[in-house]
């Protein structure tokens, strides 16, 4: 009997020479190969299952944070609705697209879906500036639309976003005019999150003009100076909303992706288990046949 370590080398040598002669050795080797694959697949299944469990525990908290943050976003939207804010129709307005992704992968096609959506929007407004949050979307967008990117942020989305983060990031990006702030919104309440078309929040504001084009804004009776503050705050509010929502989507997408992955692994495991058993059976039968023929031959 050859030692186990030698066998792969022998197999390689046998494969190089004549095939039919090496057949019994090959069966032994494949049996072991199957066993090894079976082991590695079941390890993968364990990992994906754990990730799924982690994601689903996180999902609850993320979802709660999302619903809470949605309230913030809605309230600030209501103000703009009541004020009947309209996008500026002037020349030379710029569009800023804030892509709210995250750093981590392994969550299905959510980042590529987001990037695709952004690309589609760029077809409509080719000169829009992009601010990217998160490494994943950055990598995807820099390949196709690198020229449009003005800022990118990383280390996003490790935890449930707090309102601190958008504030920090926003102070840097305030210098450009913006007319649109689209972000991803998808429903996590259903088990399968899907990227819905991001509702475009048209916050018209130009840095130069004191008053945005809001016909009804005077109803609030607010000083002009406070208005700039409000504008800043509304932006960070919206960003916070986008972050929380994006985080929840990502977690939910990851949970589903991991669920699918462990299901696939389970399928593969059962397939390989059957294959393994059959091969083993075949080897045993072959050996039995050899012994019996040998015994009957020596009897005579």
């Amino acid at each position: 009997m050859l030692s186990r370590a030698v066998r792969p080398a022998l197999k390689a040598g046998a494969a190089a020479s004549v095939r039919p002669v090496a057949a019994p050795v090959a069966t032994f080797a494949t049996l072991r190969e199957i066993e090894q694959r079976l082991k590695s697949i079941s390890n993968i299944e364990k990992i994906t299952k754990t990730m799924k469990i982690v994601a689903s525990t996180k999902l609850n908290r993320a979802q709660r944070a999302m619903t809470e943050s949605r309230q913030y976003g809605k309230t600030s939207n209501t103000v703009f609705e009541q004020a009947e804010t309209k996008p500026l129709e002037s020349e030379g307005k710029k569009t800023l697209i804030v892509v709210s992704g995250s750093d981590k992968g392994l969550c299905g096609g959510i980042h590529s879906g987001l990037s695709k959506q952004v690309r589609r929007m760029l077809v409509e407004t080719p000169d829009a500036d992009i601010v990217v949050l998160g490494e994943k979307c950055k990598a995807q967008l820099s390949r196709s639309n690198g020229k449009n990117i003005v800022l990118s942020f990383s280390n996003v989305g490790k935890n449930i976003p707090t309102s601190q983060k958008p504030k920090r990031s926003q102070t840097r990006s305030l210098s450009s005019q913006r007319t649109m702030l689209p972000f991803r919104l998808s429903t996590t309440s259903s088990s399968m999150p899907h990227l819905t078309k991001p509702p475009r929040l048209k916050l018209s504001r130009r840095r130069q003009s004191r008053n945005p084009v809001s016909s009804n804004f005077s109803a609030f009776e607010i000083d002009d100076e406070v208005l700039t503050n409000f504008r800043e705050y509304a932006l960070s509010n919206t960003l916070f909303w986008a972050l929380a929502e994006g985080h929840a989507c990502e977690i939910s997408a990851r949970r589903n992706a991991m669920d699918n992955a462990s299901k696939n692994a389970g399928d593969m495991i059962s397939k390989y288990q059957i294959l393994y058993n059959r091969t083993r059976q075949a080897v045993i039968t072959g050996e039995l046949v050899e012994i019996i023929t040998g015994a009957s031959a020596s009897e005579d």
Partner: protein, 76 residues
């Protein structure tokens, strides 16, 4: 209405975050630890120029630098 913090180059959001930090620090110990964790941020950013990514910077430091810059000029 003139704001003192505006004259010193703070944006409203920066003003808010400073105020929030003060509140967090003045909490009782048990609550403060949890609250201060919320205030932490490891956000990093990079400027892009013509399709090329610039240097990575820590956002907190970059903010401090830009604030010092803005403090000199009158706030809009």
């Amino acid at each position: 209405m003139a704001f003192a913090w505006k004259a010193s180059g703070l944006t409203y959001n920066k003003y808010l975050s400073v105020a929030a930090r003060v509140v967090r620090r003045s909490l009782k110990d048990d609550k403060r630890l949890a609250a201060e964790r919320r205030g932490e941020s490891e956000l990093r950013m990079a400027k892009w120029n013509n399709g090329k990514q610039g240097e990575h910077q820590n956002v907190a430091e970059a903010n401090a630098a830009s604030m010092a810059e803005a403090a000199g000029s009158p706030a809009s």
